[in-house]
């Protein structure tokens, strides 16, 4: 099985863009050959989708990448260094890279894995997804699906 996993806080502006992409995929019937999963802010549950029976995982999340807001990049975990504190590991901080590291060191078989990071405009609580990112949801979905198929 292949998984397209959306992470983020739905009610915190562009922080929830990953969840919005997953919603777009499901709402438009694009979920073919993979399962789309909304994990919201509970990134630790990602371990449920890792293992030898999993063919590939692509996680979509808001990310500070130094790009223009709305731009995205798909990368492998070993291409980046997380800037979050290791000691701060918690569900709240739900860093998928840390969850992946924990699973790997705990002996999980890690399938082909990629992250689609989308540069946010803002991540304020109570604000909706920005209009410019909302307009690009079809683009994000298409890019994610294409990349997941090739993993």
């Amino acid at each position: 099985m292949r998984y397209l996993i959306g992470l983020g806080n739905y009610l915190a502006g562009d922080d929830g863009v990953g969840v919005h992409v997953v919603e777009h995929v499901v709402a438009h019937g694009l979920e073919r050959g993979f399962t789309a999963v909304d994990l919201a802010t509970n990134a630790l549950n990602m371990v449920s989708y890792l293992g030898s029976e999993t063919e590939a995982v692509l996680v979509i999340d808001a990310a500070h990448l130094g790009l223009e807001p709305g731009e995205f990049r798909i990368f492998a975990p070993d291409e980046v260094e997380t800037q979050k504190e290791l000691a701060g590991f918690s569900t709240h901080e739900g860093d998928p890279l840390k969850v992946l590291e924990l699973a790997r060191t705990a002996g999980y078989a890690i399938p082909p894995f990629a992250v689609m990071g989308i540069e946010p405009h803002g991540v304020e609580h109570g604000s909706p997804l920005s209009e410019s990112l909302r307009a690009r949801l079809p683009e994000y979905a298409a890019a994610a699906i294409e990349h997941l198929a090739g993993l």
Binding site: A40, T41, A62, A87, S90, H92, G94, L97, V123
Partner: protein, 438 residues
């Protein structure tokens, strides 16, 4: 006696959200001793105004990524109360199994990932992969079990989709429930090993007692996670029950300068909510296996050591597995079928409560004749614990000073105390922050 201390923990780690610890002691005089909560209010109550009753739980579920089941259940129950809806016995049992899954899931995360590093002398869970690989592997196994357990009943564990006003929009098949039963039974050795691990680490739990009031849901038929009356138990064992509709008379919210979150109090200057509060209120209703776990862990009611909240959580994990097995057997015996949703019989005000991992949770809504929400209120358990944490600080800091505790040791003791409450201050933003290395 330690005479000078300056502790300034900005954004305490291994808790959900942001909280600060500030202690200033000069020449033996305590100038400041505060648990500070700087999180901005999120105004969920305003977000539900103007929404149809079928949408409200979808919104409030997003209050928390960990207690999403609890917020969904409290919200749907309050809506059902407002709309005069009585759900079926099957729906209630399925929701109870779902509630157990959430409690066990959150407690496993807290005990293994957030607290165990303190007790094992590690800065985070990552070093434990080297020193205690079997324990970390077991934690991830149990976490996965809880995720599958909740997903089967709730559609998904984070922001469940099946729980709707009037009942359950989807139900698992008999085959799926039987498979879940087998998975839970297969997890019993991991449960027993969890109790053994925590028992082995328990000597590292600080000895600190501060009698306080403990508040949780309680009823005469079960442990009171999904439903019941509000119950208070005082350190001398005196109990009093209140209707859930009177929750404002129990919570008595008030504001303090050091916290953006409101404080609460009832009979005493503060009260505690959460696993230890439930244990102290409802010990008699635990399944026998959970009582045996409590005995093995040295936990007895009424326990007044707040650090033991994590131990009470482990006892509750055992309870949730065995009580779910009972509920699944009852569902299998009766046969599970998709039932039509119960329709509203009235529109008005509804107030309901469930226990979430961190304690008692209240939701209240007003609906007009068209089923549109006119207003809401939500009191989360972490807010009910802030005042109690501050009162713990007020007693613990002088004790630590009198015992000549060094600054770093004092800082760790205070951090561990806050973490013991498993505060979920805010499921705030969590986006990635990375730099490219190639």
């Amino acid at each position: 006696m330690t005479s000078t201390v300056h502790i300034d923990v900005h954004h305490l780690t291994r808790v959900e959200g942001h909280g600060n610890i500030v202690v200033n002691v000069t020449d033996g005089a305590i100038e400041k001793c505060e648990w500070q909560v700087p999180e901005a209010p999120r105004f969920f109550e305003s977000m539900v105004r103007g929404r149809h009753y079928s949408e409200v739980a979808r919104i409030t579920s997003r209050i928390c990524g960990i207690c999403a089941v609890g917020h969904t259940l409290a919200s749907v129950k309050a809506t059902e109360d407002a709309l005069g809806i009585e759900i079926s016995a099957q729906s209630r049992k399925l929701r109870e199994v779902l509630k157990h899954a959430e409690n066990a899931d959150s407690h496993v995360l807290h005990a293994y990932i957030l607290v165990a590093p303190d007790l094992a002398g590690a800065p985070s869970v990552f070093p434990l992969v080297e020193t205690m690989p079997d324990v970390v592997a077991r934690a991830l196994r149990l976490k996965r079990l809880c995720h599958e357990w909740g997903s089967l009943i709730g559609g998904r564990t984070t922001h469940p989709t099946t729980v709707v006003p009037g009942g359950m929009a989807e139900v698992p098949t008999v085959k799926q429930l039987a498979e879940l039963k087998e998975k839970l039974l297969a997890a019993v050795p991991d449960l027993e090993a969890t109790v053994e691990t925590v028992a082995a680490l328990a000597p590292n739990i600080p000895a600190f007692d501060r009698p306080t009031e403990y508040i949780g849901l309680s009823d005469d038929e079960n442990y009171g996670l999904y439903d019941g009356l509000i119950q208070s138990v005082l350190p001398d064992g005196t109990k009093q029950r209140y209707p859930v509709a009177d929750y404002r008379l129990v919570t008595n919210e008030f504001v303090v300068p050091q916290s953006t979150a409101k404080y609460t109090k009832n009979k005493l200057s503060s009260y505690a909510a959460g696993a230890l509060a439930r244990f102290n209120n409802n010990y008699d209703m635990l399944v026998p296996e959970a009582k045996r776990a409590a005995e093995a862990l040295g936990l007895q009611p009424i326990c007044t050591n707040p650090y033991m909240n994590t131990v009470a959580q482990v006892v509750e994990v055992v309870h949730s597995v065995y009580d779910s097995l009972r509920l699944i057997d009852e569902l299998l015996d009766a046969g599970v079928r998709l039932e039509p949703l119960v329709q509203p019989t009235k529109h008005g005000r509804g107030i309901q409560s469930v226990e979430v991992p961190r304690g008692i949770l209240f939701h209240e809504y007003d609906y007009d004749a068209a089923g549109i929400c006119q207003g809401g209120n939500c009191i989360i358990p972490t807010n009910q614990n802030h005042n109690n944490i501050q009162h713990d600080f007020d007693v613990l800091v002088p004790e630590l000073l009198a015992a000549d505790t060094g600054e770093k040791e004092m800082e760790l003791a205070l951090e561990m105390l806050v973490r013991a409450y498993d505060p979920c201050i805010s499921c705030s933003t969590h986006h990635l922050d990375v730099t490219f290395v190639r």
